[in-house]
Structures are given as structure tokens and as C-alpha cells.
């Protein structure tokens, strides 16, 4: 079933990115994001194509695809597209809807203002980025 606003707030409240956010702020965030469902197989962001957005998975799964080959699966609470938006470069991989995908989306040009308006969310995003960096460099140790 598609969401009602209350449903979206409930969904957001169960995602770790918003764990430090109070009810009023969460309500505000629910009005700020766009919600979208994707057909299985549909691409959300595209390797080498500019102008993409920040996406947070609310339900379902998506695949990371690079040059046609799958490199992993993303699920509820995972987010993607932020590197491309923050650095102003095209995404380096496709993200493809794998199963019943529903995302909260923040347009690229709106991401900076969103992060500055919600510093606790930005801090959680930063920790997630740090974990990605840690995983990417773990071969060194």
C-alpha cells in the first residue's frame, strides 16, 4: 500500500539516519522529501549521467551495478547518490530497483540546505560515510 503522511513519518522514524530527530523535525522532513516507487529493474541513478539525486531506501531492495555487473544489494535505511551530489560529478555506478523499491528522495540542489538544516542527520550520514571508507580501506590493515 502507498503511504499516508503518518505512514511516511512512521517509516522515517524507524530508519537509523533519523534516530536523533524529534517528532516535529521528523514531520518537517517528511514534508521535505519526495517519495517514489520504482518498477523492478528501473534505474534510480545512472552511471555517467549528471543531475541525479540523493535517495534513501524506505522499503525494498536495489542493486549496485557497474558496467552491467552487480556488486551488491542495498536495503531499507541505505542511501546513495550523496557522493555524486556533494562532489558535483556523475555517479560511478547504476543503482537499479531490485524488488519493490520505495525511496525518499532529495533533489541534488536541495541536499546541502537539507543537511545544514538537520545537523544530526548530517552527523549520521557522516558516520555512514566513515564506515564505507573504513570498509574500502580495510585491506591495508
Amino acid at each position: 500500500m502507498a503511504s499516508t503522511p503518518a505512514d511516511l513519518i512512521d517509516t522515517l522514524s524507524g530508519i537509523s539516519l533519523f534516530a536523533d530527530v524529534g517528532a516535529a523535525e521528523l514531520n518537517s522532513i517528511a514534508h521535505y522529501v519526495d517519495e517514489r516507487r520504482f518498477a523492478d529493474g528501473e534505474r534510480i541513478i545512472r552511471q555517467g549521467i549528471t543531475g541525479s539525486a540523493f535517495s534513501l531506501i524506505l522499503e525494498g531492495e536495489a542493486s549496485i551495478r557497474l558496467d552491467g555487473k552487480d556488486y551488491g544489494t542495498l536495503g531499507r535505511g541505505d542511501f546513495f547518490g550523496e557522493v555524486s551530489v556533494l562532489l558535483g560529478v556523475p555517479p560511478v555506478a547504476d543503482i537499479v530497483a531490485a524488488r519493490n523499491l520505495r525511496c525518499a528522495i532529495i533533489a541534488g540542489p536541495a541536499l546541502e540546505a537539507f543537511m545544514l538544516a538537520h545537523p544530526t542527520v548530517m552527523f549520521r550520514m557522516l558516520k555512514a560515510e566513515a564506515r564505507k571508507l573504513q570498509r574500502a580501506t580495510s585491506w591495508r590493515t
Partner: protein, 481 residues
């Protein structure tokens, strides 16, 4: 289903494609929502009777956002011939006449006063239950518009009139009005109330966005910006970023309890009237119970790039609800599918798709000679109305096929080209960025890998310059064009 611009355009385009179909509408005549709204009478979409392109030509459509698309001269550019010159925004009655004229002159057959009441699967097709009996069809297309008033679940909201129930403006004389919402319809009402209301408050969690600031159709359109200027000059209009917690009736009117979404704490308003400009939702009937997926608060149907329901295969949408197929939405900018000047082209594409997929009607596409490709694509990005109205959304697509040669595959959704495997080819679109630049974009598909080439803008929006020609030629080299 539907006799607004979406249903009428699709019916015409299906007939041109040779697809047998029936059109039903709950309304008594053509016109859709324009028979009732906008409340303050004039549309937001313009038609320029005098434009840089010849009236009635394809390129003129760029300046006429309201006429439907016909192939015969008598069906082209109907809207400008019906306007009285007082505004380039047609009055509601002028728009309704525009649609009725198209339907009449095109000989469209619509069963009016016939309400859809239910839907069943029937083998490979559907049965539509209506007040006039059952219709059996292979493919239903729903062009029912964003027709039902929608209100969010706020305590007390049930006592608040919706935009659709707004009274005559003079009845708000000397009143304090709280408008829930800060989008176009909120500003339309506020603008209309300026000569009447004592005080106007517009409240919602999200800050106001203005189209002239977002440099897109996102936000309040310039036509209704006056209340914003009144606000910033301290004239009495208040814009409040706040969550609406509760609306209660009082002896004098209403009490609106809010919490500022910028962290400023609670604010309470005692007002005479409250109006919810919280939008409309499509009358989906039983489609969600049959599996149709929707997105967002107002349940916009989730659609594939060819306007097929996600979750309810073989059911399609036309008209304003085709915004449920958002395309690439580059830089967060939507296409124009929510308005006539966008979805009229979607209807043509849908008719072609239905004809091809379900009825085996697939006319040969025009062929191009190699030396025609470059000037043709440059002319398209400079003048094609489809590309200018549906930026980053529709594209002119050319295929390079070993058997058929260079084929003009027509105007198609850009997403379809970018995301689909297929013959080598090129799709060109017009795009815009948040800085307000408008420029051509070229997508080259070679061995099923797509590369993007963004061409420069031009101060006069002329994309047929020597520099554009050179950059396009470079982009096309991998295709041997």
C-alpha cells in the same frame, strides 16, 4: 476514461493510429477540471497569439501551452483564436471552449454522464463497470485527472473547507484568513483575497518556493507572487513555516495551533476563516486494491516511462496523472506532465505504444540520409516544442540500424532511450540546470552503453551555432554519423 485534455488528446491520437476505443466521462461535457478550476478564473499556462513561429505550425506549439495537438489545420492552434486579448493566460471559459471545439471538430465520440464504478480483470483484459453498464477492453486508460480534493490528517481538518469549497471573494471582506499550504493554489487564493481580506496567513511546514527562484516550474508561479511581495514588504500577508497541529472551531471562527518548523516554538492563530489548499488526488477507485502502486501523500500513480501502472500491468494513465512517470528528473526538476503542454505529447506517445504493443500497428518510421542528421538534430533542440516543454523528459530519437539504415524513431521518453537496450542511436533533449541555463543534451547509445554530452547554452537560445554543430558532430562520431 475522462474528457479533459488528457482523455481528448489520447482519443484523437488513438483514432489517428487506427486503434478502436471508447471514451467515457462522468462529466456532462468536455473540459475536465477547467469547468470548475482555477477558482480565480484564469489559467497558469499561457498562449501567445503572436509568437516568433507561425501560428498553426508545429514549432508554434512552444508558445501555445493550451491547444491540443491535431494533424489537420482546423485542429491546430485552436486556443489563440478564442482569446479576447486581455491576457495571455486564457480564461477558464476560453479553455473549456478550446477543448470543446477540438472534440467537436475532431469528431471525438465521448459517452458523457457515464461514471466508472468498478474494475475487474477479464482474462487478458479488463471489465470496467459503469453507471451505463459494463465495458470490456484489452487496455483501460485512466485520464481522470487530479480531480478529488485532498486534505492531510490534521486534528480538526474535517471542519476546514478545501480550496474546492472556497466562497466568492467578497464574502471574505474584512476577514482574517489562514490558508493551509504555500503552493500555487495557496498563492492563487491569497492573490485573489488581497483586495478583500483583513489579514492573510499562509502556513505549512515547507518554506515557500518560487518558480523564478527555482528556475523551473517548481514553486509558486510568477503570476501569483504578489502576496509574497506583500509579505516581504511587511504589508500584512504572513508566511509561516510551521506544522499545523490542530484546527478548532471557536465562537468567532477558528483557532489554528502550529509549531514552527524552524525551531521557533508554538504559534497560535485566531482567524475568521481557514482554507486547506492541500492539493488534489486522483480518483483511483479500486485500482489500488487491484495492485496499482502510488507515490507520495496525494497518491499519484506510479508509472513506467510509457505510462503503464506499476503493480497493475496493462492499465495505463493519460493526462495530468502521467506525472507519475517522472523520468530522469535531472537536478530535481520535473517535466511538465502535470500540465496540458506536457501531457499532450505523452498522449501521442502512449497512443503509438498501445497501437504497437496491443494492436500490431507499427507504421514504418521515416529514414534519414546521413548528411541530414546533424542539421535535423540541431533544428530539433532549437525549436521542437516537445523538447522545450518536456525538458530532460522527451527526446528526439534516431536509431542507426544495420538493416533499416538511419531511422527517425520520433519523440519518445528520454528515460526509455537511456535505460533500454536497443540499436545504436542518439537521443537529443533540451535541459536546464539550477543556475537557469538551458542547453541541449545528447545521449549516444553504442553497444548498449549510453554516454551523455551536454552542449553549451547560448545567450539567444540558438543551438544551431557552429560550436553546437562541432560538438554534436564529435558526439555522433562513434555512431559513424
Amino acid at each position: 476514461m475522462g474528457s479533459g485534455p488528457g482523455g481528448l488528446q489520447l482519443s484523437y491520437s488513438l483514432a489517428r493510429s487506427g486503434v478502436p476505443h471508447a471514451v467515457i466521462s462522468a462529466d456532462p461535457s468536455a473540459g475536465g477540471m477547467f469547468r470548475r478550476w482555477p477558482f480565480f478564473q484564469r489559467l497558469l499556462s499561457w498562449t501567445k497569439p503572436f509568437a516568433p513561429e507561425e501560428r498553426g505550425s508545429r514549432y508554434y506549439e512552444r508558445y501555445d501551452w493550451n491547444s491540443l495537438l491535431g494533424d489537420e489545420d482546423r485542429l491546430r492552434a485552436i486556443q489563440p483564436g478564442l482569446m479576447d486579448g486581455t491576457s495571455y493566460f486564457p480564461a477558464r471559459a476560453e479553455m473549456e471552449e478550446n477543448l470543446a471545439t477540438f472534440a467537436r471538430e475532431a469528431g471525438l465520440q465521448v459517452r458523457y454522464g457515464c461514471r466508472w464504478t468498478g474494475t475487474r480483470r477479464d482474462g487478458q483484459g479488463f471489465i470496467l463497470e459503469t453507471t451505463d453498464g459494463e465495458y470490456r477492453c484489452r487496455v483501460p486508460v485512466f485520464a481522470f485527472g487530479m480531480a478529488e480534493p485532498w486534505k492531510p490528517s490534521i486534528p480538526g481538518i474535517e471542519a476546514v473547507p478545501h480550496y474546492a469549497d472556497t466562497r466568492a471573494p467578497e464574502t471574505y471582506a474584512g476577514k482574517r484568513i489562514f490558508i493551509i499550504g504555500k503552493e500555487v493554489s495557496a498563492f492563487e487564493l491569497a492573490n485573489g483575497f488581497l483586495p478583500w481580506a483583513k489579514q492573510i496567513v499562509l502556513g505549512s511546514p515547507r518554506p515557500v518556493a518560487l518558480s523564478v527562484v527555482t528556475k523551473s516550474l517548481v514553486g509558486v508561479r510568477a503570476r501569483y507572487v504578489q502576496p509574497y511581495e506583500d509579505h516581504i514588504l511587511g504589508g500584512g500577508v504572513m508566511l509561516v513555516n510551521a506544522t499545523i497541529e490542530e484546527v478548532t472551531r471557536t465562537a468567532e471562527g477558528y483557532r489554528v495551533r502550529t509549531t514552527r518548523s524552524d525551531g521557533g516554538g508554538p504559534l497560535v492563530f485566531e482567524v475568521d476563516d481557514v482554507i486547506a489548499t492541500t492539493g488534489f488526488t486522483p480518483p483511483l477507485g479500486d485500482l489500488r486494491t487491484l495492485g496499482a502502486q502510488t507515490s507520495g501523500r496525494t497518491h499519484i500513480p506510479a508509472l513506467t516511462p510509457l505510462f503503464e501502472s506499476i503493480g497493475l500491468p496493462d492499465a495505463y494513465m493519460a493526462g495530468t496523472v502521467t506525472q507519475g512517470a517522472p523520468g530522469l528528473k535531472k537536478h530535481g526538476m520535473p517535466g511538465s506532465s502535470g500540465a496540458v503542454h506536457g501531457h499532450r505529447y505523452n498522449a501521442r506517445i502512449l497512443a503509438r505504444h498501445l497501437a504497437q504493443k496491443y494492436f500490431g500497428i507499427d507504421p514504418a518510421r521515416p529514414q534519414l540520409k546521413q548528411d541530414e542528421v546533424l542539421p535535423y538534430l540541431l533544428a530539433e533542440v532549437t525549436r521542437a516544442p516537445e523538447l522545450w516543454h518536456q525538458k530532460s523528459y522527451l527526446s528526439r530519437t534516431i536509431l542507426v540500424d544495420a538493416a533499416r539504415g538511419i531511422i527517425d524513431d520520433g519523440i519518445l521518453p528520454l528515460q526509455l532511450f537511456v535505460d533500454s537496450d536497443g540499436p545504436d542511436g542518439v537521443a537529443v533533449a533540451v535541459e536546464a540546470n539550477p543556475a537557469g541555463d538551458i542547453y541541449p543534451a545528447v545521449y549516444v547509445r553504442k553497444d548498449n552503453a549510453v554516454t551523455e554530452h551536454l552542449l553549451p547554452t547560448d545567450p539567444l537560445l540558438d543551438f544551431s551555432t557552429a560550436e553546437h554543430r562541432k560538438q554534436l558532430a564529435d558526439a555522433l562520431k562513434p555512431l559513424g554519423l
